[in-house]
């Protein structure tokens, strides 16, 4: 066992990267749930984003176009969910599960000819001299643009929900859709927009895995990250900054346990492998003990009667 082989600076830098797919997907789902919709199809939208991003990046040889296509793909798939739940008033849980299964199958079909190909790499942002600062440089200034976009989106979502009129209306719709309707707000339209935003971010998260984290295409490569993102939203009490904290905690422990495995620590691999899930859940449960802040209309079907 050799713990000195673990470099704390590289570990922190790697955890930010490991956390980004979860962070993107969870931030999107947070907005969806604050609008009162429970979309369990995150995993399906992520994998669709992963293959759309991968395929377009390979075809155009541009990771930027890849990410754009991933967002579009995720949003398009989420539109199917929006149609089912908002227009035909189907059950949200069943529709979300169906979306995940559909996304997994469709991505496998789309991805058949892309197995074993290397995608074009997205370069890190060049911060010039900032990157040379000891410790801080490698941790904060050595990443790709999408990672920074993820953090910026958390801040943006937080600010919009808290300070803007559109955020207030979105929260109102999620809190009590009947009252919002009575006041004249377009519940279905607002929810559809939120669902598409959530789909786009899930797609970005998926593409981050296939274009940056791994980077290659294999079937089912999101491997449950979408479900972790869903759980994270609940345990984070629907608060953006707690989602960030939870995602980094999860990413951090994932990296740490991989490093520990590499260093040959005398803990069975199974325990190490489960530790990110267990610790993330424990910490967020403790955090969420203050007050359950679930949006009042979460998961309920809205029908404008009269």
């Amino acid at each position: 066992m050799d713990l000195s082989a673990i470099n704390p600076i590289l570990l922190v830098a790697a955890l930010m990267s490991a956390a980004t797919p979860i962070l993107l997907a969870a931030t999107g789902e947070l907005v969806v749930e604050r609008a009162g919709v429970l979309n369990l199809g995150v995993e399906g939208m992520m994998i669709i984003g992963a293959i759309c991003g991968f395929a377009i990046a390979v075809e155009t040889n541009s990771p930027v176009f890849g990410f754009l296509a991933a967002a579009a793909g995720g949003a398009l798939l989420s539109l199917l969910f929006a149609f089912l739940t908002q227009i035909t008033l189907a059950n949200q849980v069943a529709s979300g599960l169906a979306l995940t299964l559909f996304g997994l199958g469709l991505s496998a079909l789309l991805g058949q000819s892309y197995v074993g190909i290397k995608p074009p790499r997205m370069g890190d942002i060049n911060f010039g001299p900032l990157a040379d600062i000891p410790v801080v440089g490698p941790i904060l200034f050595s990443h790709d643009p999408v990672l920074y976009l993820g953090i910026a989106l958390v801040a943006l979502v937080w600010g919009i929900l808290k300070f803007s009129r559109i955020g207030l209306v979105l929260r109102a719709v999620g809190e009590n859709h009947d009252a919002a309707h009575a006041l004249g707000y377009k519940v279905v339209r607002i929810r559809t927009m939120a669902i598409m935003f959530g789909g786009a971010l899930a797609g970005l998260g998926g593409a981050y895995i296939s274009l940056i984290r791994v980077p290659q295409w294999t079937e089912g490569m999101t491997a449950g990250v979408g479900w972790i993102a869903l759980a994270l939203v609940v345990f984070a009490s629907w608060k953006p900054w707690r989602v960030l904290l939870g995602a980094y905690l999860f990413g951090g422990i994932t990296q740490l346990q991989l490093n520990l495995q590499g260093a040959g620590v005398a803990i069975p691999v199974e325990y190490l492998a489960m530790s990110p899930y267990v610790i993330t859940i424990i910490v967020l449960v403790i955090l969420s003990a203050d007050k359950s802040a679930a949006p009042g209309s979460l998961g309920r079907t809205f029908h404008a009667s009269h």
Binding site: E175, N176, A182, L183, G296
Partner: protein, 504 residues
Amino acid sequence: MTSLLSLNGLTKAYPGVVANDHVSLDIQPGEVHALLGENGAGKSTLVKMIYGLVKPDSGEMTLHGAPYTPPEPRAARAAGVGMVFQHFSLFDALTVAENIALGMEDAPKMSALSEQIRKVSDTYGLPLSPDRVVGDLSAGERQRVEIIRCLLQAPKLLIMDEPTSVLTPQEVDILFETLRKLSAEGTSILYISHKLEEIRALCDAATILRLGKVVGTCTPRDTTARDMAEMMVGKVLTTPKRTTTELGKGVLELREMSLPSPSAFGMPLRNVSMTLRQGEILGIGGVAGNGQDELLGALSGEMRAPEGMLMFNGVDIGKLGPVQRRDLGLLAAPEERLGHAAVPDMSLTENAMLTGAAREKLERNGFLNWTSARSFAERIIEEFDVRTPGPANAARSLSGGNLQKFVIGREVLQRPEVLVVNQPTWGVDASAAAAIRQALLDLAQAGAALIVISQDLDELMEISDRFAALNEGRLSMPCPTEGLTVEQIGLMMGGAHGMEVAHV
């Protein structure tokens, strides 16, 4: 003087029922106009048409002498018509200021809005802090949020749908003060209620609806409550009566019961002691939130009591749950109709089954006898005059008063030995309330013991033999109702126990 709003021959029919049949009325500027009627008389439909939620089939409305046909509430608000709903359309998780901002077309910045809210709440004597979360507010405070939301848009006409049904007497006084001030400033108010004394105290004119038609108008100050009630009901009212009865032996006894409240914002019970005798009605008053829900829970079995605190016919039942207590003959009907007393989305038959299974023998070896359950539900509907197409209708589809009759009837018909009811006539119109009170009296007459918890002091004075008040979870010593003065009741509600003088 031209009227502010006049309705001419408004008609609205729904399948199977004409909700409004050629209704006409005029509201003058600055007038407080009462709209009176029983449940189902068509009051709500009428105001929904004025507020643009429902379109009339025929008839016309004029506002300021110009034709007025609001296609949606937004247009009604723009035309100067504001409405405070009976069931508030508020968002629990949002703050007062955020709730108000959502109801405005072009809301100012939050800080400016908070300032405006403070100003309006000062001007009209409606204390309200803009930063509080609505979920933590009392019913009266929530109503203030709705009123202030309307006032910020400077309405010419304010519609209030049964505003006092959820308020304490003190809150009613504050509200009336505000409404008088508004009317003095020239705002007209359309006030819907069936509380006649309130209307006599507040309103300048009244229009009375029965079965969708205008059956009369009057000046409330010059008309007795009884006359108005009879116009509303269309028949001569009988006040509930009881012949004096011999009280039997003690059947239920509470010994120094102290229990913590199950909810974080509840009130624990503190040393509650009393003995209830057969044939007796014990009325329990007090301002809401002083342990009423907890007392009902402790008696119904939703909260368990430690040994030796709760005796029923000499047996300790503190550890028994609601089902076993029902088996023994201790029944309860809680205050909240939808969600506590009845399951909103279940049919009346299913709701009848839920509490009646054991005592009405609707269940055998775990199998349910739906035929008997349906006839039990039909019997409740028949005997308590519940207006519904049939027992297969969902509880949610009934109006508040009708569901209340069903919920009380369901317990009364199970021949309880002890019946505990909380707010039995809350939100129920005059004739239905009289019917419910009569049923409770008849039950006591037949030898059952009753505990009636209510905010309505008149009701308690009318039907109970003894009166006690809950204050901060403590129960005052019950005294005979006869000869009890308002001052004595006030002292009891204020927390003076027995013959002690209140310590101020």
